[in-house]
C-alpha cells in the first residue's frame, strides 16, 4: 500500500479529531457568546463543511490504495496538507471563540492549538508537503 496514504490514514485518525474537537468547542460557547462570536472570520458551520468535504476526499482516496500514479500521490499529499492547514485554522478559531476560558492552561482548547501546530510542523510538515508537490508537478526535461 502507498506508504504516504497509510500516513494519511494515521493522520486522519489522529487529527480529524483535533479539528472536530475544535469545532465542537466553538458550538459549546455559542449560547453565551454567539452574539459577539458572529463577528469572527471563521464560523463553525463553514469549518464543518470544509472538514466533511476533506474527510469524504480522504475516504475516496482510501478506496484505491494501490494506485501508484503521480496524480494520485499529489492528491494524497494535498489532502494531508489541507488537513494540517485546517487544524491550524480550526483550533485558532476555537480559541478566538472561547476567549479567556480557552486560554487557561487547564483548557482543552489551548491544548488543541498546540497539537495543531504539531500536525503542521512535524515532518512532513506543510512546507515539506508543498515542496514535494511542487517537485512532482514540475515538467521533466532533459538534463
Amino acid at each position: 500500500m502507498n506508504p504516504s496514504l497509510q500516513s494519511l490514514q494515521n493522520w486522519y485518525r489522529n487529527n480529524a479529531g483535533v479539528i472536530q474537537g475544535a469545532i465542537d468547542s466553538i458550538w459549546a460557547v455559542e449560547p453565551q457568546l454567539g452574539h459577539v462570536n458572529q463577528f469572527l472570520d471563521e464560523r463553525p458551520d463553514a469549518l464543518q463543511a470544509e472538514l466533511d468535504e476533506l474527510v469524504a476526499r480522504v475516504m475516496k482516496l482510501a478506496e484505491t490504495p494501490y494506485n501508484g500514479s503521480n496524480e494520485f500521490f499529489l492528491d494524497v499529499l494535498d489532502a494531508r496538507a489541507h488537513g494540517a492547514e485546517l487544524c491550524l485554522r480550526a483550533t485558532q478559531s476555537a480559541l478566538m471563540h472561547q476567549g479567556a476560558r480557552g486560554y487557561l492552561m487547564s483548557s482543552d482548547v489551548q491544548r488543541r492549538v498546540r497539537e495543531a501546530h504539531f500536525v503542521a510542523i512535524v515532518t512532513p510538515a506543510i512546507k515539506h508537503l508543498r515542496k514535494e508537490i511542487a517537485r512532482l508537478s514540475a515538467e521533466e526535461m532533459p538534463a
Binding site: 463543511a49 508543498r130 508537490i133 514540475a138 521533466e140 526535461m141 532533459p142
Partner: protein
C-alpha cells in the same frame, strides 16, 4: 604518516577557519567553533573528526546527512524571497477578487483587459513559471531574426505585476480547486476567489515511446531557454544534431529556425510530408522546396518506437527499424490540456475544459476558462488570435460591464517557416 607530518597537518588544520555544516533534514547547523558539548563534542571539534555514529542533536539523522554550509548574504535572501510572495495577505482575506491561473499570453491579456475597466478589482495571477511577459510566436523565429534568448522577455513578471497592480505568485503550482469554499489550493498557500479563470494552457502530449527525461517539448519560454542553452551557439560550439518528432506547425517551424541557426535537423513524421493537415494547399511540398538548401532532412511515414541514451548522444529507433543518432530530441507531437484542476472542480470536460461558446463560462458559475485549455463543442483552437477577444469577453463579464459575446472564428494559420512563410486556412 610520521609524527612530524601529523603535527604539521594538525597545525595546518588548526589554522584553517572554522567551518559550518548544515543538517539536510532539519536545518541544524554544526559550528566547529562551538562543537556540540551536549553530545560530547568539545568546542573546536572539526567536522571530519566527529565519529560516524554521531547524530544530529535536533532530529537524530546521521553525520552523512550534513553538508558544508556557508551562510548566504541577507541581501541575496531578500532578493530571492521577493520573487515568491506567500498567498495570504490581510487584504486578500477580505476581498478575494479574481484569481487567474496561468501567466502566458491569455493570463496577462485578461489582467490588462480587467485593469482597463476596473482600477481596483483585486487580481491574483498564479503561475508555475516566472510569469515573464513574452511573445510565444517568437520562439519559432528567434534564430532567423537573430533575437538573443535574453531579449525574448518583453517585460519581467514583477514589472508587469507592478504596472497592472496584480498580485503575481510566480513558481507556484495550482493543485486543486475547492469549489464549495471557493478556494484554490497552491504550493504557496490557499487563495480564496470570487471568480476564477483558468488560463493555464496546454502541454505536450508525449507518446509512451518518447520519455520526458530525453525529449524536449517547446511550449513555453522556460523550456525554450533551456533548449537554447543546451544547444549552444552553432558558431561557437559547433552545430548539433537535432531530431524533431512531428512535422506539424511547431515541429516544422522549429526545424526551420534551428536549421537557420546552423544546426543539423532530422524531421520525422508519421505522414509522408510535413504540414500534412494542409495537404490540399500543398503546404508540405512548398516548405520542402524552401528547405532544400538548409540542413533539414525530412523522413516521412515513420513512427518512433523508442529513444535511448547512447553515451553522450541519443539513439532514436523507428518501428520500421531505422536508427538515428542525435544530440537532442524534440517532441512536437501535439498538445493536450492538463485535467487536474478542472477535474478537482468536476468541470464539464470535452477533450479540454468545455466552455460556453458565447460567455466562456465553465459548468461552474464562478469559474471561466480561456486560451489553449478550452474547447468549444469539443474543439480546441490553440492559436494566438482568439486570446485577445476572449480576454475582452471575460473582462466585461468579470467587471460587470455590458456583455461582449465571444465569437469563434475559423483560424487563419500563419506558418512561421521563415524560409517560406505560409498562410493557411
Amino acid at each position: 604518516m610520521n609524527t612530524q607530518q601529523t603535527l604539521i597537518s594538525a597545525a595546518v588544520q588548526a589554522l584553517a577557519p572554522w567551518q559550518q555544516y548544515i543538517c539536510h533534514a532539519c536545518g541544524y547547523i554544526y559550528n566547529e567553533a562551538e562543537g556540540d558539548p551536549d553530545s560530547g563534542l568539545a568546542a573546536g571539534t572539526r567536522f571530519s573528526d566527529i565519529p560516524e555514529d554521531w547524530a544530529c542533536p535536533l532530529c537524530g539523522v546521521t553525520k552523512s546527512d550534513f553538508e558544508r554550509y556557508e551562510a548566504p548574504s541577507l541581501d541575496a535572501l531578500r532578493e530571492r524571497a521577493s520573487g515568491c510572495a506567500p498567498a495570504m495577505t490581510s487584504a486578500a482575506r477580505h476581498t478575494p477578487g479574481v484569481v487567474i491561473v496561468g501567466a502566458g499570453r491569455a493570463g496577462w491579456q485578461l489582467a490588462e483587459a480587467i485593469r482597463a475597466r476596473d482600477a481596483t478589482l483585486p487580481i491574483t495571477l498564479v503561475t508555475a513559471c516566472a510569469g515573464d511577459v513574452y511573445d510565444k510566436p517568437l520562439l519559432s523565429v528567434a534564430m532567423a531574426r537573430q533575437i538573443a534568448p535574453e531579449n525574448l522577455v518583453k517585460e519581467t513578471g514583477a514589472n508587469a505585476a507592478r504596472r497592472l497592480n496584480v498580485r503575481l505568485l510566480p513558481h507556484t503550482h495550482a493543485i486543486r480547486i475547492c469549489k464549495e469554499t471557493q478556494q484554490l489550493r497552491t504550493t504557496r498557500g490557499t487563495l480564496r476567489y470570487d471568480q476564477l479563470v483558468l488560463a493555464h494552457g496546454a502541454q505536450a502530449a508525449l507518446p509512451p515511446a518518447l520519455p520526458a527525461a530525453l525529449c524536449w517539448r517547446i511550449n513555453h519560454l522556460g523550456a525554450y531557454l533551456q533548449l537554447r542553452a543546451a544547444l549552444g551557439e552553432a558558431a561557437a560550439t559547433g552545430p548539433k544534431d537535432v531530431l524533431i518528432v512531428g512535422a506539424g506547425l511547431i515541429g516544422s517551424e522549429l526545424a526551420n529556425d534551428l536549421a537557420l541557426g546552423g544546426h543539423r535537423i532530422t524531421l520525422l513524421d508519421v505522414q509522408g510530408e510535413p504540414l500534412a493537415r494542409w495537404h490540399a494547399e500543398q503546404a508540405g511540398a512548398q516548405v520542402l522546396q524552401a528547405w532544400k538548401d538548409l540542413p533539414i532532412r525530412f523522413v516521412g511515414g515513420v513512427k518512433v518506437a523508442r529513444v535511448e541514451r547512447l553515451g553522450a548522444r541519443l539513439r532514436v529507433t523507428t518501428e520500421c527499424g531505422q536508427h538515428f543518432a542525435t544530440d537532442h530530441v524534440i517532441a512536437a507531437t501535439g498538445l493536450q490540456t492538463p485535467s487536474r484542476l478542472a477535474q478537482s472542480a468536476g468541470l464539464a470536460w470535452q477533450n479540454g475544459i468545455a466552455v460556453d461558446p458565447g460567455t466562456l463560462a465553465t459548468s461552474d458559475a464562478r469559474i471561466h476558462a480561456m486560451g489553449d485549455c478550452i474547447t468549444l463543442d469539443g474543439q480546441a483552437s490553440r492559436y494566438i488570435e482568439p486570446i485577445a477577444r476572449q480576454a475582452q469577453t471575460l473582462a466585461a463579464s468579470l467587471c460587470g460591464c455590458a456583455p461582449v459575446p465571444y465569437e469563434a472564428r475559423p483560424a487563419v494559420v500563419r506558418v512561421k517557416t521563415t524560409s517560406r512563410p505560409l498562410t493557411l486556412h
